[in-house]
């Protein structure tokens, strides 16, 4: 086909045409929300990563902006502190020309006792097109997706999922390895409290990677095998021959009990040191979703070393979030029949 849809005449004489995006064979996202990696298939993940490749180029231009989401409003609603993710979403939104506003709960009426649903209903009354949200409760975005006309993008919910982090990790891995299938990926750290871990395991397994989960027995979540990951308490076994080593933060703030004897002991047993990295493949990449605890899960020599792609992950985050915002912007909740019928 050489007649691009943008180049079709607006004239009334033409036969009714499908809008530009309606090639039924073209890959597409099946949901109008992004609540988690669970539910995405390999084709949808590949579509997001491929679109992010195109978005990445925009970040390298002198004028880092395209007019795509002009006139669209995106609300960033963060009920938990975040610097990296919120900034990344804001930059992504601005590069696509969306109007954005960010609400941090410390300054919002949430502190006056308003419930989540009421807060969001009030925001919705002002007709935003998308809501990017982070919340301490697992499933909060899912709840909102049921009542909202706006598209909901999960920017991290409790211990459940953090889909855009897993997507940017996959994007970074693919940029270095050319593929995801068949790679040995060792994920070391606090697996139990980590939404990044859950999203990553689901994504990597969907794409055919071999995932090894490693941490103290107290921090390995039950039912890991159901996700298809192998688990071990030996960091040497996990890292041996790995293509990718991904470290996760020890989340003091989510720990109610004593999962590890001390941070110093954790570092001695699981901390990623240059000696441990040497067990991995020569072309290994070392990743960390941030924020890093140097000297706890990662040695500074590794964090700043030649295998580290930690800052690349951060820059790729913008491209991946642009891709997600773009791909979800084609839907309009006002026309969503399922929603009108109340599902």
């Amino acid at each position: 086909m050489s007649t691009r849809a943008a180049d079709r005449p607006e004239s009334a004489e033409r036969a009714p045409e499908r809008t530009p995006n309606q090639d039924p064979a073209a890959p597409r996202l099946k949901s109008r929300h992004l609540l988690g990696i669970a539910g995405l298939d390999a084709e949808e993940i590949t579509l997001i990563l491929d679109t992010a490749e195109a978005m990445k180029e925009i970040g390298g231009r002198a004028i880092k902006k395209v007019p795509t989401l002009r006139g669209r409003t995106v609300v960033n609603l963060f009920f938990e502190p975040s610097t990296r993710t919120r900034t990344s979403f804001e930059i992504a939104e601005k590069r696509l020309s969306a109007d954005t506003l960010s609400i941090a709960t410390a300054t919002s009426s949430v502190t006056k006792g308003e419930t989540l649903v009421d807060t969001v209903r009030n925001l919705e009354a002002m007709s935003p097109d998308m809501i990017v949200m982070r919340h301490a409760s697992s499933g909060a975005p899912e709840l909102l997706a049921r009542i909202c006309r706006s598209a909901i993008i999960n920017a991290g919910d409790g211990m459940h999922e953090h889909p855009t982090q897993a997507l940017l990790d996959a994007f970074t891995i693919r940029a270095h390895k050319g593929r995801l299938a068949g790679l040995k990926v060792a994920i070391v750290g606090d697996l139990l409290h980590s939404r990044v871990f859950r999203s990553n395991v689901i994504l990597l397994k969907t794409m055919g990677a071999d995932v090894w989960a490693c941490g103290p027995a107290t921090l390995i979540p039950p039912g890991l095998e159901r996700l298809g990951a192998r688990s071990t308490t030996s960091v040497d076994e996990a890292v041996e021959g790995a293509d990718v080593v991904m470290l996760l933060r020890i989340q003091h703030e989510r720990m109610q009990g004593h999962y590890i004897p001390s941070l110093r002991e954790y570092f001695a047993l699981f901390g990623m040191t240059p000696e441990r990295v040497r067990r991995a493949r020569e072309d290994v990449i070392v990743m960390h979703p941030g924020p890093m605890n140097r000297g706890v899960e990662i040695d500074s020599a590794v964090a700043d070393g030649p295998f580290s792609v930690i800052l690349e992950q951060v820059s790729n985050g913008v491209a991946v979030r642009m891709a997600v915002l773009y791909l979800l912007s084609g839907w309009d909740g006002r026309n969503d029949e399922a929603l009108v019928e109340g599902r």
């Binding site: 086909m1 679109t51 002198a62 007019p67 791909l327």
Partner: protein
Amino acid sequence: MPQVMDADRMSRALTRIAHEILERNRGLDELALVGIRTRGVPLARRIARALKEINGDDVPTGALDITLYRDDLMRHPVGPQPLVRRTEIPFSIDDRKIMLVDDVLYTGRTIRAALDALIDFGRPRVIQLIALVDRGHRELPIKADYVGKNLPTSLKQSVQVRLQEIDGTDEIVIEGEP
């Protein structure tokens, strides 16, 4: 399905366009070709090859994806968005003469989007437009500087450009009732 151009005539049309470019621009200094995805890209490379054969100079080529600049993108938000492909312009366009290449010139809306996209990359000295086929029915004040073939069509017809690099064959066919 009448064929309106075969491989031989397509190659001659592109060579003629290359000669016209040389004539109008008095040499290839500061010249670059930018093809609009999808089929403008191989066409731009072919014209660059033709220019090299005639003149011996290499002309840089780039690829432009206009999806994010389309004027109809957000007007009917009822489904999945069209695929975005990579824009690759591996040279500065500042003060260059840019030859923008597309396969079919029709309403002019693609070219409008392409001009917006290009200008985000810098400030070319001049932008000229090359179209393999001009089928008429413009909706914007846009005109090609170099045309392979002027092809009068009705709105009900569609013009298909097929290229070896993408479709395995070189031809232009016109489909539908006149």
